[in-house]
Symmetry: C3
Amino acid sequence: MSENKKTNIILFSGEYDKAMAAYIIANGAAAYDHDVTIFHTFWGLNALRKDEKLRPQKSFMEKIFGKMMPHGAKNLPLSKMNFAGIGPKMIKSVMKKHNAMPVEDLIDMAKEQDVTLLACTMTMDLLGIKQEELMDGLEYGGVAAYIAEGEDGAVNLFI
Amino acid sequence: MSENKKTNIILFSGEYDKAMAAYIIANGAAAYDHDVTIFHTFWGLNALRKDEKLRPQKSFMEKIFGKMMPHGAKNLPLSKMNFAGIGPKMIKSVMKKHNAMPVEDLIDMAKEQDVTLLACTMTMDLLGIKQEELMDGLEYGGVAAYIAEGEDGAVNLFI
Amino acid sequence: MSENKKTNIILFSGEYDKAMAAYIIANGAAAYDHDVTIFHTFWGLNALRKDEKLRPQKSFMEKIFGKMMPHGAKNLPLSKMNFAGIGPKMIKSVMKKHNAMPVEDLIDMAKEQDVTLLACTMTMDLLGIKQEELMDGLEYGGVAAYIAEGEDGAVNLFI
């Protein structure tokens, strides 16, 4: 068992700025040798969706949820000043100017730093999200998986 | 004093999906023998309101808050895709299909597992919410009660 | 190094009620002899902005962000029932009636209790917020400063 400190982040929210905060903290903690897990649940799963049109077998309601929810980090809205999608463009423009990493790159960096990206199977079941619709390299689990990590966490956050 | 690990959740938000997340984590932690407290503050108190018309003595402003805020877990809106109340109906429909417990039942389950449900007295005072308007079986306290629990928590979350 | 317990709050949100919750918990924890840090990031920085018209040199995009974001705690909106600014007036009216401290006073109280108010330099850089636009008595740092505090925290919260 690792002697490293643990950081466990529940990413519940589906907004670009909140996903950005989660991944910046995760990458920061990993740089300080923490064992880091991000548990993606509810709308937080949208950050992990592939930006492709897939057609898995779905019920009517699952199709509706599938269509209405954003596909992947770069399509997430802002929690403030979204202005029908202009806000995210503005943020990304200033981020580019300041050489700040977009969330897609922060996710790649987290994978390279061995951050565990956990997808909540209960949410997937509920909203009809299939494994093939999510990016590669994920782990899957429910609330038990979170508690097992979280109870030893030095830093536990709900975002 | 108990040797069990502690999980302390501040439920600040008044949305159905966030209350659901709070209670799923609370029940999960209780199943792993944690001593669990949910501290309901601000809009989080709405999950505990009775779904009845009561007429306690209130000031004008308290009446307005009382009318505008949802009565109980099953009347909470969604934090995303609420669509004037259609979103919660959709979520509850898929939850039923998947045999997932509605929040009212998750609250009952938490009580059966001896999760402490704490209502924030400062918020009650501020928004004019009386004890008779809230469900039975609650404890009452302010920020001091939270800190006393939270400082020994293995898992502390703000939802 | 202090033997006191630590409370570390990330204030990400830019709403009056959430800033109020953050500062009430911070002041409560400080009263229980915790070493308390509030790390203001993203929209949470707005609580620290001076309520003055300053004209630092800014790019076009920075000017837009500067104008659209609230100047200081007393100009923050509510996360619920904001009603185009009527909600905050209602809350402040009931707070006054109950002798509850407005957020500006909670911030002053926190400073008097030696709560560390940390401003996120990455956000300042991104949104073009200058030190002269923020209140006095702050410390400045990035995610590394947060992790250094957070990993020893008894209570860590993301608000």
